[in-house]
Assembly symmetry: C2
Homo-oligomer: 340 residues x 2
Amino acid sequence: MNIGEIAKRAGVSRSTVSYALSGKRPVSEDTRRKIQQVVDELGYRPSASARALANGRTSTIGLVFPPAGNHYTGMQLDFIGSVVEAAAAYDYDVLLSPSGVDSDRSFQRLLGERRVDGAILMEIRLEDDRADHLAALDFPAVAIGRTAHPESGWWVGLDHTALAAACVHHLADLGHRRVAFVNRPEQLLRAGYESAHRGLDGFTKAAAERGLTVRTYCCGDDAASGQACLERILRDDPGTTALVTLNEAALGGLYRGLARAGRHVPGDFSVTGVVASRWAETVTPQLTAADVPAEELGRRAVELLVERLDQPGAPARHHLLTPPISLRASTGPATGSPQP
Amino acid sequence: MNIGEIAKRAGVSRSTVSYALSGKRPVSEDTRRKIQQVVDELGYRPSASARALANGRTSTIGLVFPPAGNHYTGMQLDFIGSVVEAAAAYDYDVLLSPSGVDSDRSFQRLLGERRVDGAILMEIRLEDDRADHLAALDFPAVAIGRTAHPESGWWVGLDHTALAAACVHHLADLGHRRVAFVNRPEQLLRAGYESAHRGLDGFTKAAAERGLTVRTYCCGDDAASGQACLERILRDDPGTTALVTLNEAALGGLYRGLARAGRHVPGDFSVTGVVASRWAETVTPQLTAADVPAEELGRRAVELLVERLDQPGAPARHHLLTPPISLRASTGPATGSPQP
DNA sequence: CCCATGCGTCGAACCGGTTCGCGAAGCTAG
DNA sequence: CTAGCTTCGCGAACCGGTTCGACGCATGGG
């Protein structure tokens, strides 16, 4: 059932059918109705491939995310969902691309084979070869996260520096003096993931500013690692009375470790960090945290990308979000005997 | 940089370039090398749209999942990840389609506009109009889940009936007599989601078989609903000593409700159900549960779909998985005074 | 020496749309 | 009545690949 078939049955030429459906040239009301009727009868829909070939637009955007090796976190899930939904609102489909690096086969497919009109990049690194590559090609892309050179690009992001700092100030205000930081896995930190770096940075600077004694840890993205990490924290410094974490997946393990160690939250130990509200609410006591607005980030990324696609050559834009800390039940005043 | 450009620079015809690259006809070693050299130099990759138009295959599979209205669960995330990864291994891309029903715009795009070669359906209902529609069209699709007529189709699924029954038997063996069932949200049950129905079914039958006193509940997909649901359970029958749940997202809330009510797990109350191990391990005590092998389900769905695409007309195949219950720490012998 | 064989390459048609230029009617105005 | 302008629809070219039939040329056998 191609456009020629429709044309034949409607008694017009193929081009007339095309114009009638796209509205790019006026068509008399009579023939338009006739064509529409045939189209409806046969349930005709133009082939996406043919259309893409002819006008150079695929109406698809690529969502580039890291391969599953490192397990997905809840945040990533929320991104994917909101990106897909927002894209649908603009009549774009979303093509998933599991891609770590620039030279990936998957990445090459997206770009080289022109499968997508634009791309959204997740899990940005401070020095990100994918982002650089896309920028060099002037390929329409929007990053979820900031590289080390944020002014030059299109992105939406969270101010992890400020968020981690806010957590520190919150704990310092409550009187905590010895605080641990639980980061994402070491391999991600070493790879230069921006949230891990900027979060660590914000934590360290704010802690210095407030004169806190701190230790920082990397922790695998799962409960067992969280538990092990907490044990290490208390072994390294039993005087620790609070922690800040960026590691959503480890949260349950951290709580378990505290329970095992006989520490009561928030009585003897406070926990806070940067975590999507949905996950902050699954632990008991519920986590006081800066809520990651994953849905908003995803939606805004799509909006920026669509804007960039509609107006090529427009100046780079970005959104930096700094959600406030939601006070729940996992932090409280420091009570332990202050350490020297 | 199209195939004509390559042909010109290599001093051959377009068809020769095509054959050299696809290998579908022999090409002399000399010209093949010359062509390859030009291709490498220019970094040429054939356009996916043009190729799709010419040979009728998009090398893309659609992943149809419900719109974000109902929040995604961790299980769905694992599916998406494993499907994408498995598809990449077969050189397929994955196009995401948020689609609830048959007539969705998004669904129409996938099929009508021929954007994908095949589809994988998530969140199957017992009477599923999408599955029926695809079957009627003989469109290559594989469902993750069984409809009410499982013999006719291609699917991979979990034997929720058997899994829920196994949970009941496990609890009955431990001496529990009054057990609650926490299902997915009522709206999903009413819509006919197969896991909710078959799980409820297996639970009810096994409980009758063992002569247990039971109550069944629906529960929203979030922690707050879980907590509320648990309060209701204890209000309705304070003698309840155990529960079985399919509701991953409510798990944290159920635990919180138990803690609030002063019930200790597994001392005075046992909890079990059907939950992916990753999430079963985040709660304390870790959940004894039938582990949903999301990764395996996703991978097998892709394998079946690829098989179906490679051999059109092959007889329908499916995989029904029944993972064993992993004993962790959330169930124990019933200790309360037995009820009449 | 000629013809059958087969290898390697080419040209053309095709996939299913979009878009441009043009021309046939129909209408108005001079 | 005709020149000039619109309105509407048509045909053809094009997007960038794939694929089929045919052809030129070297080779080998009779």
